[in-house]
C-alpha cells in the first residue's frame, strides 16, 4: 500500500532531476581577479570583511585577508594572523614568491589548522564556515586559516529528556562540542567519526560515530551509503535526514532513534549502534532502534534495578493506557454495558445521563480539545502558559461537565490518558495517533474493532525493521538473553552481553558476576578487532 505511493514519489522525483552547476575553478594568480570573483559569489554582504595588507618590505607583496564577521574569533585573527603578518615580517630577506606561502605557514602565522587551497569553490565554502582566507598577489593558492569562533549556547540539560539522577549535560547546536562531549564519555581510540557535508545548499556537516571493534562494519557501511544517497536542499535538524534514511518512511513508529544526551549516545554506541551527528542541532540520531528502547530511560540505569524495573513496568502500562483507555471506555459504554460491574455502571450512567452526544463523539471531541490546549501550551510564551492551564482546567474540566455537554467519566479518562501519554515521550506522536485510531474503531465496532485494530498494529510492527534489525526484537523474534533489559532491568553486573542482533560482533560486555572487574578478556578482544 505504502510501497506503491513510495514508488510514485520516486518517479516524480527522478523526472525533475537537474544537477547544480559545479564550479571547481582554479584560483587566479591575480589578487584582484580572485577578490572580484569572491565578491560576485557572495554579493554585497556587509559581513564579508576584506582586509588588504602588504606583506614584507623587499619586495613587498600585496595580499588580502578575507573573513565573515561574526563567524570568526576576532582575537585569533588580530593576534595570530594580522599582527605577525604586519610586524614579524620585517626580518625576511630575499624570499622568492614561490616559497612565500610555505614560509608564512611555517614561521609566521600562529594559527592551528592551516590549509593550502588551489580551487575556488572550497575557498568560498571555507569562508562560509568561519575560516579566514589569505590571498597573496602572484599566488594561485589561498591559505585557509582555522579561525572559527561564534556565539554558542551553553551546555544545558535537554528539556525533552529530563532525568533525576545522573549526568545533566546535553548536546548543543555545535557539532564540534557534541563530538567532544561524546569523546569525554568514551575515552577509547575505537571511537571513530566520519564527516560529510549534506544539504546541497546548506552544506551542513554530518558525522557518523561508531565504536570500531564493537560495531558491525556492515551497519556502518549501510548508514554511510544511505546518507550518501540523501539529496536534499537543506538540513536543519536530524529529522531532515531521519525521514530520508528511515526504513519505513510512512510508518508512525520511529525507525530511527534520537536523543539529546551524550550518556545515552555513549551507551548506544557501546551496544554496537551507530550515531549520526548533525551540525546545528542538539539532536543525535541512533540506529538501529527498537520499539523497546522507547520505554528505556537513562534513569533506569542510574537507579537500583528493582526500582528501575518497577518504573519501567509503569511505563509499559502507561503507554497501553494512553493508547487504549478511551477506546475501552467507549467500547464498554456503547456496546458492552454488561461487562461493567453493576454499581459502577449506575455511577457512570448517572454521570452521563442527559449528555447529548454518543460516547465516542464526546471522547474524540475532548481529546481534540486536550490536544489544542497542549499544543497551545507548548507554543505560547511561558507567562501565558498559566492562562492556558486555567482556561483549560476551568472550561474543559468544570464547565463542560456542569453544562451537561460531556460526562464527568469522559473527562477523567481523557485526563488520565493525557498524563499517561507523556510517560513515554519517544512515542508521543504514535501514541496520540493510535489513540484516535482506536477510539474511532471502538466507537464504530466496539471491543471487536479494538481487537482488529490491535492485530493490525501488531502485524505492522512485526513487519518493521530498523537497519536490518526487526523492530520488535528481542520480543519478536525472541532472544531470551536480551529480555534482561526489556521485561526487567537486570542488575548491571548481570547484563553481560550486548543486544544479540545489534552487538553480535563483540557480544561480551564483561564477565558475569560481582567479582573484581577483570576486564583483560574484553580488552584483548577489542585490541584484536581494533587492529
Amino acid at each position: 500500500m505504502f510501497k506503491f505511493l513510495w514508488r510514485k514519489l520516486r518517479l516524480a522525483h527522478l523526472r525533475k532531476k537537474n544537477p547544480l552547476p559545479r564550479m571547481y575553478r582554479e584560483l587566479s594568480p591575480d589578487l584582484e581577479v580572485n577578490l572580484t570573483a569572491i565578491r560576485r559569489e557572495l554579493g554585497a554582504s556587509p559581513d564579508l570583511i576584506i582586509r588588504r595588507i602588504t606583506v614584507g618590505s623587499a619586495p613587498a607583496t600585496t595580499g588580502a585577508l578575507l573573513y565573515i564577521d561574526g563567524l570568526i574569533d576576532q582575537q585569533i585573527v588580530h593576534r595570530d594572523i594580522i599582527s605577525p603578518l604586519l610586524n614579524g615580517e620585517k626580518g625576511r630577506k630575499g624570499q622568492d614568491s614561490k616559497g612565500l606561502l610555505e614560509y608564512l605557514v611555517r614561521q609566521v602565522l600562529s594559527v592551528g589548522a592551516v590549509k593550502k587551497e588551489p580551487k575556488f569553490e572550497p575557498v568560498v565554502q571555507a569562508l562560509l564556515e568561519g575560516k579566514t582566507v589569505l590571498f597573496l598577489d602572484g599566488q594561485a593558492e589561498a591559505l585557509l586559516l582555522a579561525t572559527e569562533g561564534w556565539e554558542k549556547r551553553a551546555i544545558n540539560e535537554p528539556d525533552a529528556e529530563r532525568i533525576i539522577l545522573g549526568p545533566h549535560e546535553g548536546f548543543t547546536e555545535n557539532i564540534r562540542i557534541n563530538t567532544a562531549l561524546l569523546r569525554r564519555k568514551i575515552t577509547n581510540p575505537g571511537l571513530h567519526f566520519e564527516e560529510m557535508k549534506l544539504g546541497r545548499r546548506t552544506r551542513t556537516t554530518v558525522a557518523i560515530a561508531y565504536l570500531k571493534g564493537i560495531v558491525n562494519e556492515k551497519l556502518v557501511a549501510e548508514v554511510r551509503s544511505r546518507l550518501k544517497r540523501v539529496n536534499i536542499d537543506l538540513v536543519l535538524d536530524a529529522n531532515y535526514l531521519n525521514e530520508f534514511i528511515s526504513d519505513a518512511p510512512f510508518s508512525i513508529f520511529p525507525t530511527v532513534g534520537f536523543t539529546e544526551r551524550p550518556d545515552v549516545t555513549a551507551a548506544k554506541l557501546l551496544e554496537g549502534r551507530v550515531a549520526i551527528f548533525v551540525d546545528g542541532t542538539p539532536v543525535v540520531s541512533t540506529v538501529p532502534v527498537l520499539l523497546v528502547e522507547s520505554f528505556q530511560s537513562p534513569d533506569d540505569y542510574n537507579f537500583p534495578y528493582y526500582y528501575a524495573t518497577f518504573i519501567r513496568w509503569f511505563r509499559y502500562i502507561s503507554f497501553v493506557l494512553a493508547v487504549l483507555a478511551p477506546a475501552l471506555f467507549v467500547a464498554l459504554g456503547s456496546y458492552h454495558q454488561e461487562l461493567i460491574p453493576t454499581p459502577l455502571l449506575i455511577t457512570i450512567k448517572s454521570a452521563t445521563e442527559g449528555t447529548p452526544f454518543p460516547l465516542v463523539v464526546e471522547m474524540v471531541m475532548m481529546g481534540a480539545v486536550f490536544e489544542i490546549i497542549r499544543e497551545a501550551g507548548v507554543r505560547l510564551a511561558r507567562p501565558v502558559g498559566q492562562t492556558i492551564s486555567i482556561v483549560g482546567a476551568l472550561v474543559v474540566g468544570e464547565a463542560a461537565v456542569t453544562a451537561g455537554l460531556v460526562g464527568a467519566p469522559t473527562i477523567i479518562v481523557i485526563a488520565i490518558t493525557a498524563i499517561a501519554t507523556f510517560v513515554v515521550p519517544d512515542l508521543l506522536g504514535p501514541g496520540i495517533i493510535l489513540r484516535l485510531f482506536f477510539t474511532i474503531l471502538a466507537g464504530v465496532f466496539g471491543a471487536y474493532g479494538i481487537l482488529i485494530g490491535l492485530l493490525f498494529i501488531l502485524l505492522h510492527l512485526t513487519s518493521l525493521r530498523s537497519f536490518g534489525v526487526p523492530y520488535l526484537s528481542p520480543l519478536v523474534p525472541l532472544s531470551p538473553g536480551d529480555l534482561k533489559d526489556v521485561l526487567i532491568r537486570a542488575p548491571i553486573w548481570a547484563m553481560r552481553t550486548r543486544p544479540r542482533l545489534i552487538g553480535w560482533s563483540q557480544p561480551e560486555r564483561q564477565p558475569f558476576g560481582f567479582g573484581s572487574s577483570g576486564t583483560e578478556e574484553g580488552e584483548e578482544g577489542e585490541a584484536e578487532d581494533g587492529g
Binding site: I346, E353, L359, V444, G446, Y448, G449
Partner: protein, 397 residues
C-alpha cells in the same frame, strides 16, 4: 524477489480479509448508548390477573436520582431512585417486550440481580417461566432466585433499609448468608442445574414484606421446597441449616445450646466438613453422614467456668447433639414432603449408577424409607479474647 512479492500479496490479502470481516460482523447498528438504556436491577414474576399469561415486574434504576441523593447537587424533585413497571403477556418474553409500551428507553436485562417469583408461579411450575431467562442472551445466569408469598412488585418497591434499591439490598442479604448459614441462596444457574438432576428437589429462599414504623421492609424467612418444579412445602431457619450441614454449605453461623446446669451457651461455627455416603443394602437406602465441625465459644449466660478441658468435652457433646437435631429436623421435613433436597439420589447416580437405575423410578419411596446414620465430631477450639468468662467468680472457700 518473487518470493517477496508473493508474501506481499498474502499480506495484502489477509489485510483485506481482516477489514472485510470488520465491516461484515458487528457495527454501529449494535451500538446502544448508556443514556438510552433502562438498567433493570430486579424483576418479579407472577401470573397475570386476567387471562392466562404472565405479569412481569421490572425495577429500573433512576441513576441520576440515586447519585444525587448521595452526591448532593441534585435536581428534579422527589422522584424515587427506582421506577417500577409492570407488563403482561402470554409468555414471559412477550411480557418483557410489551414493557416497551411504557418505557421510553430500552430495557437492559444484563444487570438484573434478582428474580422474585410469586408463590402462584412456583405452584404452577417454575421452568416455563424461567425458560426465557436462560434462552435470551441478555439476562445473566448468576441472578438470585427468591420466592415470595407477597406480590413480587411489592418486594421490588419496598424500602430496603440502608440501600436505596431493594434488589441491590437483596444481593447483599444473599452474600452474607454465611453469617448464619440459615439461608440457602440460589442462582438461576443453580436452579436449572438441580432440575437437570433427576431425583433432586429444589429449594428457594423466601423473602417477604413486614411492616415496621409504617414502612415496608424486607425479611428473609426460611426456604421453600420445590419438588418436580412445583412448590410443595417450607423449611424454617433451623431446618435450612440442617440441610446446609449435609450439603457442606455451612461456612459460619452460631449455635446455641442449653447447658445442663441451667443457662445457655452460644458457639460460633468456624467450618464444617461433611462426608456423605449413600449405599443400597438389604433393600434399603443407607446414608452415612459424617461431619467434622470446628467452633469457638462465643457467649454464655452462666457464671460457671466453661474453659476447663472437662467442660470442653461436655460442650462438644452438646454441640454434636444440636447439630444432629438440626439435620434430623430437615430430614423429617424432607421425608414428609417426599422431596430429596439433599441429593442422595444424585450421589447414587454418580457413584453407583446401576443401583440408581434400578431405584430411580421409585426413588420417592426409597428416600422416605432411607436409614440415615449421623456421626458428628464437634470441636470447641477457642474462647474469644478472654481466658475465663467475665461472669466467672471464683467461689470463696
Amino acid at each position: 524477489m518473487a518470493d517477496d512479492r508473493r508474501k506481499n500479496r498474502i499480506f495484502r490479502g489477509s489485510l483485506g480479509l481482516l477489514l472485510l470481516s470488520l465491516v461484515l460482523s458487528g457495527g454501529c447498528w449494535d451500538r446502544r448508548e448508556l443514556e438510552t438504556l433502562a438498567v433493570v436491577t430486579g424483576m418479579g414474576l407472577n401470573y397475570a390477573a386476567q387471562g392466562d399469561g404472565y405479569e412481569v415486574a421490572f425495577q429500573i434504576v433512576r441513576a441520576a436520582q440515586l447519585q444525587s441523593a448521595s452526591g448532593g447537587a441534585g435536581g428534579g424533585g422527589e422522584l424515587k431512585p427506582v421506577w417500577i413497571l409492570r407488563s403482561t403477556g402470554p409468555t414471559v418474553f412477550e411480557a418483557v417486550r410489551n414493557a416497551t409500551f411504557q418505557s421510553s428507553r430500552r430495557l437492559f436485562l444484563s444487570h438484573n440481580q434478582v428474580l422474585i417469583i410469586s408463590e402462584a408461579v412456583a405452584k404452577g411450575g417454575l421452568l416455563p417461566a424461567l425458560e426465557f431467562f436462560v434462552r435470551d442472551h441478555e439476562p445473566r445466569n448468576t441472578q438470585w432466585l427468591l420466592l415470595t408469598p407477597d406480590e413480587p412488585v411489592e418486594i421490588l418497591d419496598a424500602a430496603a433499609g440502608l440501600e436505596r434499591v431493594s434488589a441491590l439490598a437483596i444481593v447483599d442479604l444473599m452474600k452474607q448468608y454465611q453469617l448464619t448459614s440459615k439461608i440457602k441462596p440460589v442462582y438461576l444457574a443453580d436452579y436449572i442445574k438441580t432440575r437437570i438432576e433427576k431425583t433432586t428437589a429444589n429449594t428457594l429462599p423466601i423473602i417477604r414484606i413486614y411492616e415496621t414504623a409504617g414502612k415496608k421492609e424486607l425479611l428473609l424467612d426460611g426456604t421453600a421446597i420445590l419438588k418436580e418444579d412445583r412448590l410443595v412445602g417450607f423449611l424454617d431457619h433451623k431446618e435450612t441449616r440442617g440441610l446446609l450441614w449435609v450439603l457442606g454449605e455451612v461456612r459460619g453461623g452460631v449455635i446455641t445450646v442449653d447447658l445442663p446446669g441451667g443457662g445457655k451457651a452460644t458457639f460460633e461455627i468456624f467450618d464444617a466438613i461433611p462426608k456423605v455416603k449413600v449405599e443400597f443394602k438389604e433393600g434399603r437406602v443407607q446414608v452415612k453422614i459424617e461431619i467434622k465441625e470446628r467452633a469457638g465459644l462465643g457467649a454464655q449466660t452462666t457464671y460457671a467456668d466453661l474453659s476447663t478441658p472437662e467442660q470442653f468435652k461436655k460442650l462438644e457433646n452438646l454441640q454434636t447433639k444440636a447439630i444432629e437435631d438440626e439435620i434430623r429436623a430437615a430430614l423429617a421435613k424432607a421425608k414428609a414432603y417426599k422431596a430429596d433436597i439433599f441429593g442422595f439420589g444424585e450421589y447414587l447416580y454418580k457413584h453407583d449408577h446401576r443401583t440408581w437405575q434400578r431405584l430411580q423410578k421409585e426413588w420417592e419411596r426409597y428416600f422416605v424409607d432411607a436409614q440415615v446414620e449421623i456421626k458428628i465430631e464437634a470441636m470447641v477450639e477457642e474462647l474469644g479474647l478472654v481466658t475465663r468468662p467475665a461472669t466467672y467468680r471464683e467461689l470463696r472457700k
